[in-house]
Symmetry: C2
C-alpha cells in the first residue's frame, strides 16, 4: 500500500468561491479507478505555508502510475492545478520495516 | 482528531547502525501518553529529499500540546533529533469540511 499525498496553498483567498470550486474539482479525483481512502485535508501546522492537502492510497505502484496518466488526472493538473496552486509539496509513504 | 506528521532525512548513511538506532529511539515516542496510531514511515516520492516519516494522531490540541512538552519528547528533540536530522518538514492535518 502506497499513500500518496500533496499539501498545497492556492492562489485564491481563504473561503472564496474560487477556493471552493478548486476543492470540488480536486475531490472529483477520488472517482479515478484505483484511488482508495481519498481524503481532502486542512493543513493546520504553523510550521509550513500549506493550507490544504489531498491524500489517497494505491495498492501498488502500477495502480499509482495508472492514476498519474489517467486522462482525468492529467486534465486536472493541466487545466486546474497548474493555474491555481501557488506552492505545493508531494509526500508519498509506505510503512517502514527494518 | 489531529494527525501530526514529520518527514525527514538523517545525517546517517542509509542502512547504517546509527540510522537503526535513531529510528528505534523515534519509535519509543509512541509510548508517550495521548499518542495514537503511531507509524514509522518510509518516504518514497522522488519529488522531495526526505527518507522517513513519523505519523501520529491526537484527539485534540491539548493532548498534542502535552506531547510537545512531555519530558521524553523534549529529551528526544534536544538529545537526538537536533543532532541527527539533516532536514525535515512538519505537516499536521485534520479532515477538511466546507
Amino acid at each position: 500500500m502506497i499513500t500518496h499525498s500533496v499539501f498545497f496553498k492556492l492562489i485564491h483567498k481563504k473561503g472564496s468561491d474560487a477556493e471552493a470550486l478548486f476543492l470540488s474539482k480536486a475531490a472529483a479525483l477520488s472517482s479515478i479507478p484505483g484511488v482508495g481512502n481519498f481524503q481532502l485535508l486542512e493543513e493546520v501546522s504553523p510550521k509550513n505555508s500549506f493550507d490544504f492537502g489531498l491524500s489517497m492510497e494505491f495498492p501498488d505502484q502500477s495502480t499509482y502510475d495508472a492514476y498519474n496518466t489517467h486522462p482525468e488526472h492529467v486534465a486536472f493538473v493541466q487545466q486546474v492545478w497548474l493555474n491555481e496552486v501557488a506552492e505545493f509539496q508531494e509526500i508519498d509513504h509506505i510503512p517502514f520495516s527494518q
